[in-house]
């Protein structure tokens, strides 16, 4: 029988549950420290705690799919420093979020160029992130968060599409590459509307129509419906993909900003992604108080 292994953790569907809210938070669990060490990840990989990042190692030249696209198919794990906790550099520990590096390469200070009101809002959200963090509610991640999604993803390239199949919450992201226009601006989606095209060896994905309910991370870095993201995804060889995304939203930022990271091919290409039954096993709402949409009484143990 073929091995059934998840990208990083063996997560049996129904018990996946509370991992989402609690596992990714350094310091939240007693056993977090040093858990990821010695797994061969890049510098800083220990900050991922239970997450796996495939080691960077050179591969073969990039092949082509039957319809001529550069072939990125397979299982990939993201290397974006500690962006999954906070997308901008965060040298100071915050409640539930340890210090670490983000993935912002422009501006050079590694920080999101918020307008003052937006910075205040993000700061406020950070204080409530344990309750409000969208993935703790099993929400689908937006773009570009989907690119550095916890647990990694599989890329599939049937003719006319590039699909990203994430293990987290068994979500998928289908990017048509047939030249179609965006859907109507009247429609807003968690995942937005993505259209892609190949620019030489680079897949350029333009994403609009996001619903402003997703965050970049766990740290309150929020989005609005005005967000416009252009991703440039360049396979370097069969083991490595360079990723960058320019994020623009003139309603909350003073200038567009850019993140960059790499995807590493998972060494086991015969794996099968496990079912990640997020909603079905989620215990978070039991712990949240009623005031923030949960089911616990206001005097529960996690009351803020």
């Amino acid at each position: 029988m073929k091995r059934l292994n998840a990208l990083n953790l063996t997560i049996a569907g129904v018990t996946a549950a509370a991992l989402i809210a609690f596992a990714p938070i350094p310091g939240a669990g007693q056993e977090q420290k040093g858990k990821g060490k010695g797994k061969g990840g890049p510098p800083g990989a220990e900050q991922y705690g239970p997450y796996y990042a495939a080691p960077a190692k050179p591969g073969e030249p990039v092949g082509r799919t039957p319809d001529g696209q550069p072939d990125m198919q397979g299982f990939w794990t993201p290397r974006f420093n500690q962006a999954i906790f906070e997308v901008q550099d965060h040298p100071t520990a915050q409640p539930g979020i340890g210090p670490g590096k983000g993935a912002i390469v422009d501006p050079a200070d590694g920080r999101i160029p918020y307008k003052p009101e937006a910075a205040a809002k993000a700061k406020e959200l950070l204080t409530k992130q344990i309750y409000l963090e969208p993935e703790a509610h099993c929400y689908v991640s937006g773009v570009p968060h989907a690119a550095y999604q916890q647990f990694g993803y599989q890329i599939v390239q049937p003719a006319g599409y590039v699909l990203f199949l994430t293990e987290y919450a068994h979500t998928y992201r289908a990017v048509p590459t047939d030249g179609r226009p965006h859907i109507s601006p009247n429609i807003h989606l968690f995942r937005g509307d993505s259209v892609g095209k190949w620019d030489g060896g680079t897949l350029v994905i333009d994403t609009t129509n996001q619903n402003g309910k997703t965050w970049f991370d766990m740290a309150g870095n929020f989005t609005t419906q005005a967000i416009h993201v252009v991703e440039r995804i360049t396979p370097v060889d069969t083991n490595n993909i360079n990723y960058e995304a320019v994020v623009d939203d003139s309603t909350i930022y003073t200038q567009p900003w850019k993140i960059a990271g790499q995807l590493g091919r998972h060494p086991d290409q015969n794996m099968e992604l496990m079912e990640f039954a997020c909603v079905e096993g989620n215990q978070d709402l039991v712990h949240y108080t009623e005031g923030v949409g949960g089911k616990a009484k206001e005097k529960g143990p996690l009351r803020q």
Partner: protein
């Protein structure tokens, strides 16, 4: 469960398949090409059996082609359970709390399904709660451990027809809105054939000796979305459920 495989096979042999004169185009690796966005146009999601309308549930005819009476061959105890389920459906239907629909229900929900084929697997992506089915086509067997909301699907081609064997089903999913149900002994064999450029003939035989007295078969058509730039949007059920709970407060 496995003892019933032979029964299912012989049963499928006597059920006439839809006309096979159409030959589907092929994928680059030679599979019949089922790719596209498809959707059922019937009331199977409401009730697989013949049913009159009730509030929010339109009337419809049975999609059960075997047994010929169009009824699910429940054991007496299971028939009683189904009636209870129907009565309690507003609370008890797992879809009301946004759980993964399971097989075969995901195939005939009123939400589109995008089929994608690779040499190793056939992907069926539903718009409902971004439910994904991966049908592994590499000759591998069901795992010995673990049950899944969406089951474990392994498939192969028989001529023009994709044959999918699904086991490892959690017992918690329903077959429709009316409380038709199964146990963890459920074993499903689907036959999916592109019988026209824009039609998939979908057939599923369900066996579950804990709940049914014999295997039974549903059949329906799935229609291709032909509108230009057809695309799946999203139905993030759990997010809307939270919103509606907040609104009620």
């Amino acid at each position: 469960m496995r003892n019933h495989a032979a029964v299912i096979l012989s049963l499928v042999a006597v059920v006439p398949l839809a006309a096979q004169s159409y030959r589907a185009p092929r994928t680059p690796d030679g599979q019949p090409d089922l790719q596209g966005i498809w959707q059922a146009m019937n009331t199977a999601a409401v009730n697989l059996e013949d049913h009159i309308a009730v509030l929010d549930m339109p009337a419809g005819r049975s999609v059960i082609v075997d047994p010929p009476d169009g009824k699910i061959p429940y054991t007496p105890a299971a028939a009683k359970q189904q009636k209870e389920n129907f009565k309690n459906r507003a609370k008890a239907d797992p879809l009301n709390i946004c759980y993964i629909p399971g097989v075969p229900r995901v195939m005939y929900l009123p939400f589109p399904i995008q089929i994608v084929q690779t040499p190793k697997f056939v992907l069926m992506a539903s718009e409902f709660a971004h439910t994904l089915r991966r049908v592994f086509m590499d000759g591998t067997k069901h795992p010995d451990v673990a049950l899944f909301w969406i089951g474990d699907s392994r498939g192969h081609w028989e001529g023009e027809t994709l044959v999918v064997d699904t086991a490892n089903n959690l017992p918690d999913t329903w077959l429709d809105r009316s409380g038709n149900f199964h146990s963890d002994a459920l074993h499903i064999v689907e036959h999916i054939t592109r019988t026209d450029p824009d039609i998939l003939t979908y057939e599923a035989t369900l066996d579950d000796p804990q709940v049914f007295t014999r295997p039974w078969t549903i059949r329906m058509l799935l229609y291709r979305h032909r509108e230009p730039n057809a695309t799946l949007l999203e139905y993030e059920c759990n997010a809307y459920l939270e919103d509606s709970e907040k609104e009620r407060k």
